[in-house]
């Protein structure tokens, strides 16, 4: 019972920290938007600005509540957000929640899959590299990882497009479905064909870190006394890799994967731009260019929620693996 209480207390404390963190993020992003020289009304009107008089501009500003003090604006926004209304996106002329739902799904398909695949592939490569430390498979994998880590994601995407889509014609050039076809008429096959290239690029982007991380852990395990004992008892390398290395390296790799959530989301913004993928990353760029403050704030909050949860999970996993860390922090 006492243990339960402590667990509940800790969960509550983590929840409070999470709420505080999101509030600070919201405040910071709002302050950044307010400090921006980009005027939302001007950005919204664009070229039409020339035909709109100052009175109409003032009317739009008043309708959006821009004539109120920044504090009032923020409180009104926060209050609406708590009732589930995240505002109206000026860039897409739709409720922010609707934009988030549509684009979030597309992003989840691309980024989520790339995240999971890069974890699996990275782990497998790390196992192979660790098991063959110093020999050629290890050298090749390591070199490949270093190269990948230094490669600009969007450049890799452009190269993939130029080679596979333009020259070879194996993959479509852009978007999440054939151009001109409404999204609900795209067949699963077409969807997959359009997903393949961006997914491959984004997966490669995330692999390097996990592979190098896993490799280090595997080398550590293989040098341990219990592996020596297992060898002495006649266990073969596959057996040792599966029963000792993979098990011991699994949790650290998972923790590293959770900690890398932010990185892959950042990479997805660039990948979505290159492949014209209709996800949140592209929406972020669009919102930034058009001064769409409500959409930018919602995306920032959602991303912060996902990334900080990832960081939190990574921390929790690390503590679970090594209880000494609990005392240290």
């Amino acid at each position: 019972m006492a243990l339960d209480l402590r667990l509940i207390m800790r969960a509550l404390r983590l929840l409070a920290r999470q709420v505080l963190l999101l509030t600070v993020v919201a405040l910071a992003v709002f302050a950044m938007m307010k400090a921006s020289p980009v005027d939302p009304v001007t950005a919204y009107l664009g070229p039409a600005m020339a035909r709109v008089g100052p009175e109409q501009t003032a009317q739009i500003a008043a309708a959006w509540g821009l004539d109120q003090s920044p504090a009032t604006q923020f409180l009104r926004w926060a209050g609406q957000l708590l009732t589930g209304n995240a505002g109206h996106s000026t860039a897409y002329n739709a409720p922010v929640t609707q934009v988030l739902a549509e684009r979030g799904l597309a992003s989840l398909a691309l980024t989520g899959l790339a995240w999971a695949l890069s974890g699996l592939l990275g782990f497998a490569l790390g196992l192979v590299a660790g098991a063959t430390e110093g020999r050629w498979p290890d050298r090749v994998i390591r070199l490949w990882c270093y190269l990948l880590a230094a490669t600009p994601t969007f450049w890799l995407g452009m190269l993939a497009l130029a080679l596979f889509a333009v020259t070879l014609g194996w993959a479509p050039v852009c978007c999440a479905g054939p151009i001109g076809l409404p999204p609900d008429e795209v067949t699963p096959g077409q969807r997959l064909a359009h997903l393949a290239l961006p997914l491959a690029v984004l997966t490669l982007f995330g692999v390097a870190q996990i592979a190098l991380h896993t490799r280090m852990k595997v080398i550590e395990v293989l040098a341990s006394d219990y592996v020596l004992l297992a060898r002495a008892q006649g266990a073969g390398l596959p057996d040792i890799l599966l029963r000792h290395a993979a098990r011991n390296a699994g949790l650290p790799a998972l923790a590293a994967l959770f900690a890398a959530t932010g990185e892959i989301i950042g990479g997805s913004v660039l990948a979505e731009q290159v492949f014209a993928w209709p996800g949140l990353g592209r929406a972020t760029v669009e919102a930034g260019l058009k001064g769409d403050v409500p959409l930018l704030m919602a995306i920032a909050l959602l991303t912060a929620l996902v990334v900080s949860s990832g960081n939190l999970l990574a921390d929790a996993l690390a503590r679970r693996m090594d209880p000494r860390l609990t005392g240290a922090a």
Binding site: P37, M158, A162, T167, V285, G288, A300
Partner: protein, 270 residues
């Protein structure tokens, strides 16, 4: 190759690259910036080893200009970012409460991916070179600060620091005379490893249209322009500027990595 040899090789490579870029961009003058509409979109040839772009500008010269720009922006941003990291770590070293605040701020910064944070900061600052440098500096310090914070805790627990404090030295004296020299190698490695990161993020941000001014010969600008010609099979527009950027990033990754290996061989087994 021994670690020392590798370090010297990496340092030589990085220095040669910097020198080449600096000399080239200085000696090139207007080459690669002035338009020549008689030579539009030429594929690679002996006269233009990297080909020419849609305004007939030599891509090799342009790529070199771009790297020089990246170097300058990256150096300024990484240096500024390291200063912030040191300042935050120093503040955190002053007391328990300051440490908690610094830790929370770091967590908040880490909750937003670099690229998104850069985008928001660039939106706030209105774009341009100074804005990009400032945005990269403001977004990249938390990781270094985290490493420095860990080191700080270790040093503060060392006997000589305890002795010094027992002798009545004020906390600030301990920070400046004991902790800072101890952190210096970590700091150097941190800056060196942050530098390629900063360059990559600058290019990405510029590519998205939030970074350097599109009229400047930045790698991100070149690649964004190349995007429009990709469908027409003009691959050289994308391949060469990106490959040059990759070479620069790789050289600094190598330099930072081998320096770290030399300074703390036990910690890093890569």
């Amino acid at each position: 190759m021994t670690g020392r040899l590798r370090l010297i090789a990496a340092a030589g490579l990085a220095a040669a690259l910097i020198l080449a870029v600096a000399l080239a961009s200085w000696g090139l003058g207007a080459r690669g910036i002035a338009a020549d509409f008689g030579a539009r979109l030429l594929p690679p040839s002996p006269a233009h080893p990297f080909g020419t772009d849609h305004m007939g500008r030599d891509l090799l010269a342009r790529s070199l200009h771009g790297l020089a720009l990246s170097l300058r922006v990256g150096l300024a941003a990484a240096g500024l970012s390291a200063l912030i990291a040191v300042a935050v770590t120093g503040l955190a070293g002053l007391g328990r409460r300051a440490d908690a605040v610094a830790g929370f701020v770091t967590d908040v910064m880490l909750a937003l991916p670099h690229l998104l944070l850069l985008l928001l900061l660039s939106f706030m600052l209105g774009g341009g070179t100074a804005a990009v440098i400032l945005a990269i500096a403001v977004s990249h310090w938390p990781r270094l600060a985290r490493i420095l914070r860990g080191e700080l805790r270790q040093v503060m627990a060392m006997p000589y620091v305890e002795t010094s404090r027992a002798l009545g030295r004020p906390r600030r004296f301990v920070l400046v005379h004991h902790v800072l020299p101890h952190l210096a190698p970590q700091l150097l490695v941190g800056v060196l490893l942050m530098f390629p990161h900063a360059i990559l993020h600058e290019a990405g941000l510029t590519f998205l249209g939030f970074g350097l001014d599109p009229s400047r010969p930045a790698t991100g600008v070149m690649l964004a322009e190349a995007m429009r010609h990709l469908g027409a099979g003009r691959w050289w527009l994308a391949v060469f500027p990106g490959a040059m950027l990759l070479a620069l990033v790789l050289a600094f990754d190598l330099l930072g990595g081998s320096l770290r290996r030399l300074l703390s061989p036990a910690e890093v087994r890569l």
